[in-house]
C-alpha cells in the first residue's frame, strides 16, 4: 500500500481519493453508497428589532446574518408559537433558541428554562452562553446570567440560581424532583418564565418520554398558577415525527422546522459489510478489523477521522490497535485519542480542546461525542456497528464535514441482525427517516404517579384536567390510599412524604433495585436495575457487568430491592433461561394478515397477561461462547400485564405448507426472532423494550428453544408437550411491550404489521447464510443447513404465510 501519509493531499481531493480507493479495492464489501450533494447556505438578515447590543454581539462573534431556519425559529418564537427545529448536526441549532431567549431576557427581563437530557450538555451550554454574554457586555449591553442547576449545584448557590438566574440550565429529573415540588422558592423565576427550551428532543421517547410529558403537564400547571404560559422550543435530530413527538410532550400544537439553511459540503456514505469467512455458519470478519483498516487508510491520507464504537470496551480496544500504528514513538505528541464517559471531566475538556485545535488526527469515541459537544469538524466518520437508531447514525455521521468541504462516512456492520438488515437496505438512510419516536403519557401507572406528584405541588380543583384518564377517579383512588383529602372543591395533599423522590423518570414500576458492591467490606451503590429486568439480570450467581468490570451477585434481597455483589475475575458471563407464557385477556382489534392475495393468518392487538419463569441460567465462556455450566435461579414467577400485537397462522394453510409441527414451531421461533429485530428498528426501541413469544394464545402451550437448540412445546407447568398431542395446533407469535401496562409500543406495531412482516422476510431472505444464522433467524445447530427444510426456509414459509403471499410462490422463490 502506498504510504500517502507522507505527502497528504489537500483534504478536498483526499476525501474523494480515499473513497475511490475504498470502492475500487473493496467493492464486494460495500453494500450501498449514497452521495448527498453539497447545498449552499440560505441566508436571511438578522431581525431588525433585536435587543440593543445583541446584534452587535452577534456581529462581533462572526454572525452578521442568520441561516434561514434560524431566522424562521426566531420569528415563530417571537410570536409565541411552540416550535421544534429538526435539522442536521452542526446546522447552528443552538442559536435557534438562544436568539429569541436572549432577546426576551434583554428586552423584557424574561427568563428561560433550558432542559438537557444530561448534565454534561448543560455545562457545555453554559460555557457557550457565557461567551455570548461577554460579547454582549463588550458590545456595551447588559450581560446575562446563565446558571446550571443540577445535583452538583451546592446548597448555598441554589438560592442565587433561583432568584438571579436569567437562564437556568437543568435536566428533566431535577425539574421533576427538585424544582416543581419546591416551586414557591422559584416563584420569582416562574413569574418571569417566557421560554422552555428542550434540547435533544429525540431522546425523550419510550418510558422516559412518557414520564417527561407528564412532568411538562405539571410544569404547565405550575406556570398557570404563576400566570405565565411559556413557549416551548425543541431541537431534535432528524426523526420521522418531530412535531408529533414535541406536541405529545408539551400538550399543544408545535410547528416543525426541518429544512436547514446551513451550507453543507458533499457528503458520502458507504455501507460496509465485512466479508463472509465461514459461509456455512454465516460468520463474517469482525467489524473491528474493518474499522481499524479504514481508519488507518483515512489517517494516512491526511484526513481527520472519528471512529464511533458502541461500548467503552470497544473504544479502548480500537484505540489500542490504532495507537500501535500511529503512536509508536512516545516522544511525539499522540495522534490518536480515546474519548468516552468515565474519564475525568478535566481529561475530557483537554481532549475536546486538542480536537478543536486540530492537534489530533483520530479520535475514538462512544456516543459521548454524538451529542452537542463542540469538537470542531472532521473529514471522515467511521461507525463501528449500527448505533441503534437512524437518528443516532446521522448524528454521528454529522461529526464529519466541515462547511462546504466534502466528507465521508462509513457504517461498518457487525453480525447483529439489525446491522445486517440495515446494511442491505440503504433506502433506510436515503429516504426520509423511518423512525417514529413514540411516547404514551397516559400509561396508567406513569400517569397515576404524576397525578400524585402534581397533587403535592398544588391542590387539584374540581373540573381540572390532567391527562386523558378520568381525573376525579384517580384522585378518589389517592384519597382512599390516604394521601389526599377532599374539602370544598379541592383535593389537598395530606401525607408525610415527598412523592417525586419515589418516581424515577427512567422506569415504570416503583421499586427499582440497587446494586451494592460489597467488595472489601464497604457497601457502595454502583448501579440501579429496573424492576422488570431485575429477575433476568441480578439473580444469585449472575455476572453483572459495569463498564466491562464483572461483578457476581452474592445475595438478592427481593423485598428490600437490593442485590449485593462483589468484584470477580470470572472468565464467563451468565445468561438467564426464561420461559414465558402469555394469555390473551382482551382483543382490541384484528384483521387478516398481509396484503397478498391469499391471507394465511390474522394479526391482532390487545392486552395480554404474561408469566415469566426463570428456572436457571447458563454460564458462557468469553470468546469461545462455550456453555460451561448451569445454575439454578430461585425466584417467584414474574407476572406482567401489558399490551401486545400477535400473528396467527390459519391452521389449514400452515399444515399445507409445513406439515411437520416441529418445523412449524422452528419457523415461528425464527419469524419471531426476525420480527423482534425489525420491530425494534421501526419503533426506535431497544431490543429489550419489546419481548417476543410463541405459544397458542391461550396458555395451554408455549414454545421455547431448549438446551439442545431445538424448539419445544411446554405446558403451563413447564412440562414438555408433544406437538402431536396438541388438538388444535394454532401457533401464535407475540411481540409485547416489555413494561407493566405497556408504554405504547405495541399499537404502532399493529398499524405497521404488514411492513414489519415484509421487513422481517427481507431480513431473512437477504441473509448471506445458507440454513439460518444469528443474523437472521437466530442461532442454528451444525447440520441444520443440510436439512431438507432448514430453519431459515421454515421461517420464510411462516413469514410468507403471514405476509399473505402464495405459499407455493414463497417456496419457489427461495428454492426450497
Amino acid at each position: 500500500m502506498p504510504d500517502s501519509g507522507r505527502l497528504p493531499a489537500a483534504p478536498d481531493q483526499a476525501v474523494s481519493r480515499l473513497q475511490e480507493r475504498l470502492t475500487t479495492r473493496y467493492q464486494a464489501r460495500i453494500s450501498g453508497a449514497l452521495v448527498r450533494p453539497a447545498t449552499p447556505a440560505a441566508w436571511l438578515d438578522l431581525p431588525p428589532e433585536l435587543a440593543p447590543g445583541l446584534a452587535a454581539a452577534l456581529i462581533a462573534r462572526g454572525v452578521p446574518r442568520l441561516y434561514a431556519h434560524q431566522r424562521e425559529a426566531f420569528d415563530l418564537a417571537r410570536a409565541g408559537r411552540h416550535l421544534v427545529v429538526a435539522t442536521p448536526t452542526a446546522s447552528g441549532k443552538t442559536l435557534c433558541y438562544n436568539l429569541p431567549v436572549l432577546d426576551a431576557v434583554l428586552q423584557a427581563g424574561r427568563k428561560a428554562l433550558y432542559l438537557f437530557p444530561t448534565k454534561a450538555l448543560a455545562q457545555d451550554q453554559v460555557a457557550e452562553l457565557t461567551e455570548l454574554g461577554r460579547a454582549l457586555t463588550a458590545a456595551g449591553g447588559t450581560g446575562i446570567r446563565a446558571y446550571t442547576f443540577d445535583g452538583d449545584t451546592p446548597g448555598d448557590a441554589r438560592k442565587a440560581v433561583r432568584t438571579r438566574g436569567d437562564l437556568v440550565l437543568s435536566n428533566p429529573d431535577m425539574l421533576h424532583q427538585a424544582i416543581l415540588p419546591h416551586h414557591t422558592k422559584w416563584a420569582q423565576f416562574f413569574e418571569g418564565l417566557a421560554f422552555v427550551v428542550v434540547d435533544e428532543l429525540h431522546s425523550y421517547r419510550g418510558v422516559f418520554g412518557s414520564h417527561v410529558a407528564n412532568v411538562f403537564r405539571r410544569l404547565r400547571r405550575i406556570c398557570r398558577f404563576y400566570g405565565v404560559s411559556p413557549t416551548f422550543i425543541f431541537t431534535s435530530a432528524t426523526i420521522a415525527n418531530p412535531a408529533e413527538l414535541a406536541q405529545r410532550l408539551c400538550g399543544e400544537p408545535v410547528t416543525a422546522i426541518t429544512r436547514s439553511g446551513a451550507p453543507q459540503g458533499e457528503r458520502s456514505l458507504l455501507l460496509w459489510n465485512p466479508p463472509v469467512i465461514n459461509p456455512d455458519l454465516g460468520i463474517r470478519a469482525s467489524a473491528r478489523s474493518q474499522t481499524t483498516r479504514i481508519a488507518r487508510m483515512a489517517v494516512k491520507s491526511g484526513l481527520k477521522t472519528i471512529v464511533f464504537a458502541r461500548s467503552r470496551l470497544m473504544v479502548e480496544v480500537i484505540t489500542k490497535y490504532l495507537k500501535d500504528v500511529f503512536d509508536k514513538d512516545p516522544r511525539r505528541p499522540p495522534r490518536v485519542l480515546a474519548y468516552r464517559g468515565g474519564y475525568l471531566p478535566s481529561d475530557r475538556r483537554a481532549a475536546e480542546q486538542a480536537l478543536r485545535a486540530g492537534r489530533v488526527d483520530l479520535v475514538v469515541s462512544t456516543s459521548a461525542l454524538e451529542l452537542g459537544v463542540d469538537i470542531g469538524a472532521l473529514d471522515v466518520a467511521i461507525l463501528n456497528g449500527y448505533p441503534g437508531t437512524i437518528a443516532a447514525t446521522w448524528q454521528r455521521l454529522g461529526r464529519a464535514g466541515r462547511r462546504l468541504r466534502p466528507s465521508l462516512g462509513v457504517l461498518v456492520a457487525t453480525s447483529d441482525p439489525l446491522d445486517q438488515y440495515l446494511v442491505r437496505h440503504p433506502e433506510f438512510f436515503f429516504d426520509a427517516s423511518p423512525e417514529h419516536a413514540r411516547i404514551h403519557p397516559d400509561q396508567l401507572l406513569i400517569l397515576l404517579e404524576h397525578v400524585r406528584c402534581a397533587a403535592f405541588e398544588l391542590p387539584f380543583r374540581d373540573g381540572e384536567q390532567f391527562g386523558a384518564e378520568d381525573l376525579p377517579e384517580m384522585l378518589s383512588y389517592l384519597r382512599d390510599e390516604g394521601v389526599l383529602q377532599r374539602q370544598g372543591d379541592q383535593w389537598f395533599w395530606v401525607a408525610d412524604s415527598y412523592p417525586a423522590n419515589a418516581v424515577s423518570l427512567r422506569s415504570v414500576a416503583e421499586g427499582n433495585f440497587v446494586v451494592i458492591d460489597t467488595t472489601g467490606g464497604a457497601q457502595t451503590i454502583i448501579a440501579e436495575v429496573d424492576w422488570s429486568s431485575a429477575p433476568g439480570t441480578i439473580y444469585v450467581g449472575a455476572i453483572y457487568m459495569i463498564q466491562s468490570q464483572p461483578y457476581q451477585v452474592e445475595r438478592l434481597d427481593w423485598p428490600g430491592r437490593k442485590a449485593f455483589v462483589t468484584r470477580t475475575r470470572a472468565d464467563y458471563y451468565t445468561d438467564a433461561i426464561d420461559y414465558t407464557r402469555l394469555k390473551i385477556l382482551d382483543r382490541f382489534e384484528g384483521r387478516a394478515s398481509g396484503t397478498g392475495a391469499a391471507p394465511g393468518g390474522v394479526v391482532a392487538q390487545g392486552e395480554v397477561h404474561l408469566v415469566r419463569r426463570y428456572p436457571g441460567y447458563k454460564k458462557i465462556r468469553y470468546y469461545s461462547h462455550d456453555n460451561i455450566g448451569y445454575g439454578n435461579i430461585d425466584l417467584p414467577d414474574q407476572e406482567l400485564h401489558t399490551t401486545a400485537v400477535w400473528w396467527q397462522a390459519q391452521p389449514a394453510a400452515l399444515e399445507a405448507l409445513l406439515p411437520d409441527r416441529q418445523q412449524a414451531i422452528e419457523g415461528f421461533l425464527g419469524a419471531a426472532y426476525a420480527l423482534h429485530h425489525v420491530a425494534a428498528l421501526r419503533s426506535m426501541a431497544e431490543l429489550h423494550d419489546l419481548g417476543r413469544a410463541v405459544g397458542d394464545g391461550q396458555g395451554t402451550w408455549f414454545a421455547v428453544t431448549g438446551n439442545d437448540g431445538r424448539g419445544h412445546l411446554r405446558g403451563p407447568d413447564n412440562a414438555l408437550v408433544e406437538e402431536s398431542a396438541v388438538a388444535r395446533f394454532e401457533p401464535t407469535l407475540f411481540l409485547y411491550d416489555n413494561y407493566p401496562g405497556g408504554v405504547g409500543l405495541s399499537a404502532p406495531l399493529y398499524d405497521a404489521a404488514e411492513t414489519l412482516v415484509r421487513d422481517a422476510r427481507g431480513l431473512v431472505a437477504g441473509c448471506g447464510c445458507s440454513g439460518g444464522c444469528p443474523a437472521c433467524v437466530g442461532p442454528v445447530l451444525p447440520g441444520d443447513a443440510q436439512r431438507a427444510i432448514t430453519p431459515r426456509a421454515a421461517t420464510l414459509r411462516v413469514l410468507g404465510l403471514l405476509e399473505g403471499s402464495c405459499a407455493a410462490d414463497a417456496a419457489a422463490d427461495h428454492g426450497v
Binding site: 396508567l444 405541588e457 378518589s476 412524604s497
Partner: protein, 428 residues
C-alpha cells in the same frame, strides 16, 4: 374495565379467575370506589368524623372561623417552666437585647437597640412532615410574647384544609411590624415553610424582612463540640434543667394531625399543643440563658474558644477576657486566638509569652509569629532568621530569609548557613 381493576392487573396480579361482569352491568367506577373505600378505610369510621366543636372544647380553644382554632393563655410559665423562666416583661425587658443580638452575630440588619422587649415574640410551628416542599403544612403555629409580668401564649390550629387562607391571615396579623422573631431553627425550617404556605395562598409573606434571631446557630457555636447534639430538648435540659414528662415527640406531630383529619382523633392533637407550648417556653428561657453563656461560657460548660470568636469582631475586649480567664483549658488554636487578641491590644509581652510556650512545643505558626515579632518589634534579626530557618520550607520562608539576610547586611556563604540550621529550642 375499571380503573382499579386495570391497575391491579398492571401491577402484576393474575387476572381475576371469576368471569368479569359484563362492563355494561357493572356499577359506575365512582360508586364502586366509594364502596371499596368504606371497606378499606374502616379506621375512618371507627374514630368518627372530625368534630370541630368537640375539639375546641377538649383543647379549651375558641373557634375563630370554620377550620381555625385559637388557644389563648396568659401564663407565668409552662408546666415546669416556672422555676427556670424569668417572669414576664420585667425579666425579659431587662435582657441586654443588643448584647444578645450581637452575640448571636446573626443579624446585622437590625441595630442593637431595635429590639424593645415588647416587640419580640417566640415562634414555633408544627408540621405535617419533615420532607419539605409544597405538600408540607404548618398546621399549628404558636406565638409567645411577654405581657406585663406574664406571658401571652397564642396557638393557631388549622383543623380544615380549605381554611388555610383564614388561618394564615390570623398568623400574619400576629406578625405585624415592628415584630421581631425568636426561633429555634426557624431560619432553615419554620420561616421557609411559612413562606411557602403564604405563597401558595397568594399572600405576601409577613415574615419577610422581620428581624429574626434563630437561637440554633449561637447554640451550636457554643456547644457543638460539647454536647451530643444541639436539639432544643437537649438545650433546655442542659441549660434550664427542664425535663419534659409525657412529651409527645415532635416527630409524632404529623400523625396526630392526620389522625384528626382522617378519624377525628383529638387526644394526640392536645399533646401536640402541649409540646408546642413547651417548645415556646423553653425558647423564651433559652434566650437569657444563652446571653449568660456568651458572657461566661466556662460557667455553662460551653466552648470558650468559639464563643470568644463570636465576640472577636464586635467586642474584642470581652473576647480577650473570656479566653484569658480560661487560658489553662485552651488548645493550640485557642491560644493563638488569645495571643492575637493580646497583640491587637498591644500587649506584646503576653502575646510573645504564648508564642514562646507554643514554639517550645514545636508549633510552626508560633515560630512564624515569633519571627515576625523579633524582626519588627524587638529588632532581633538574628533570632528572627534562626526562627525562620526552622519553619517548614516554602516560598514564604525563602522570602523572609532573603529579606532578613539583607537586613543583617552579612550575606553569608551557603556553607556557613547550613551550620546555623539547628532545631529550634527555647534555650537559644
Amino acid at each position: 374495565m375499571g380503573f382499579e381493576e386495570r391497575l391491579r392487573r398492571i401491577r402484576g396480579q393474575a387476572p381475576d379467575p371469576t368471569p368479569a361482569t359484563p362492563a355494561a352491568d357493572r356499577p359506575a367506577l365512582v360508586e364502586r370506589l366509594r364502596r371499596v373505600g368504606v371497606g378499606r378505610t374502616a379506621d375512618r369510621t371507627t374514630g368518627g368524623i372530625p368534630d370541630e366543636g368537640a375539639l375546641a372544647n377538649a383543647l379549651g380553644a375558641e373557634c375563630l372561623a370554620p377550620g381555625v382554632l385559637r388557644l389563648e393563655r396568659r401564663l407565668s410559665g409552662g408546666r415546669g417552666h416556672e422555676r427556670v423562666l424569668p417572669t414576664g416583661m420585667t425579666a425579659w425587658g431587662d435582657l441586654p437585647w443588643g448584647e444578645a443580638v450581637l452575640a448571636a452575630g446573626l443579624f446585622d440588619a437590625q441595630g442593637p437597640d431595635a429590639g424593645a422587649a415588647g416587640d419580640w415574640l417566640c415562634l414555633d410551628t408544627e408540621t405535617s412532615g419533615l420532607a419539605g416542599g409544597t405538600g408540607t403544612w404548618a398546621f399549628l403555629t404558636g406565638v409567645l410574647r411577654a405581657d406585663g409580668r406574664q406571658w401571652l401564649l397564642r396557638q393557631y390550629l388549622l383543623t380544615r384544609l380549605d381554611a388555610e387562607p383564614v388561618y394564615l391571615d390570623r398568623i400574619a396579623a400576629e406578625l405585624t411590624r415592628p415584630a421581631a422573631l425568636l426561633t429555634y431553627n426557624g431560619r432553615a425550617f419554620d420561616a421557609p415553610l411559612l413562606a411557602t404556605r403564604f405563597r401558595l395562598a397568594n399572600r405576601a409573606d409577613p415574615l419577610d424582612g422581620l428581624p429574626h434571631l434563630d437561637l440554633l446557630g449561637p447554640m451550636r457555636r457554643a456547644f457543638a463540640r460539647r454536647w451530643p447534639d444541639c436539639r432544643l430538648i437537649t438545650a433546655e435540659s442542659r441549660l434550664l434543667g427542664f425535663q419534659r414528662s409525657g412529651d409527645l415527640p415532635g416527630a409524632a406531630a404529623p400523625a396526630a394531625w392526620l389522625g384528626w383529619l382522617r378519624r377525628g382523633e383529638t387526644a394526640p392533637l392536645a399533646a401536640v399543643l402541649r409540646h408546642n407550648r413547651d417548645d415556646l417556653f423553653s425558647l423564651a428561657g433559652l434566650l437569657p440563658a444563652l446571653v449568660g453563656v456568651y458572657r461566661d461560657p466556662a460557667a455553662y460548660g460551653a466552648d470558650c474558644r468559639t464563643v470568644a470568636a463570636a465576640w472577636q469582631r464586635r467586642d474584642p475586649t470581652r473576647a480577650l477576657r473570656i479566653l484569658a480567664a480560661n487560658r489553662q483549658d485552651l488548645d493550640a488554636s485557642g491560644l493563638h486566638d488569645l495571643a492575637r487578641l493580646y497583640r491587637r491590644a498591644g500587649d506584646w509581652v503576653q502575646a510573645s509569652g504564648i508564642w514562646e510556650a507554643l514554639a517550645a512545643r514545636g508549633d510552626a505558626n508560633a515560630r512564624a509569629a515569633l519571627a515576625r515579632y523579633c524582626e519588627h518589634h524587638r529588632g532581633d534579626l538574628t533570632r528572627a532568621l534562626l526562627l525562620t530557618q526552622s519553619l517548614p520550607p516554602g516560598p514564604e520562608r525563602e522570602r523572609r530569609q532573603t529579606r532578613l539576610r539583607v537586613k543583617l547586611g552579612r550575606e553569608r556563604p551557603a556553607g556557613q548557613l547550613e551550620l546555623a540550621i539547628e532545631p529550634y529550642s527555647t534555650g537559644t
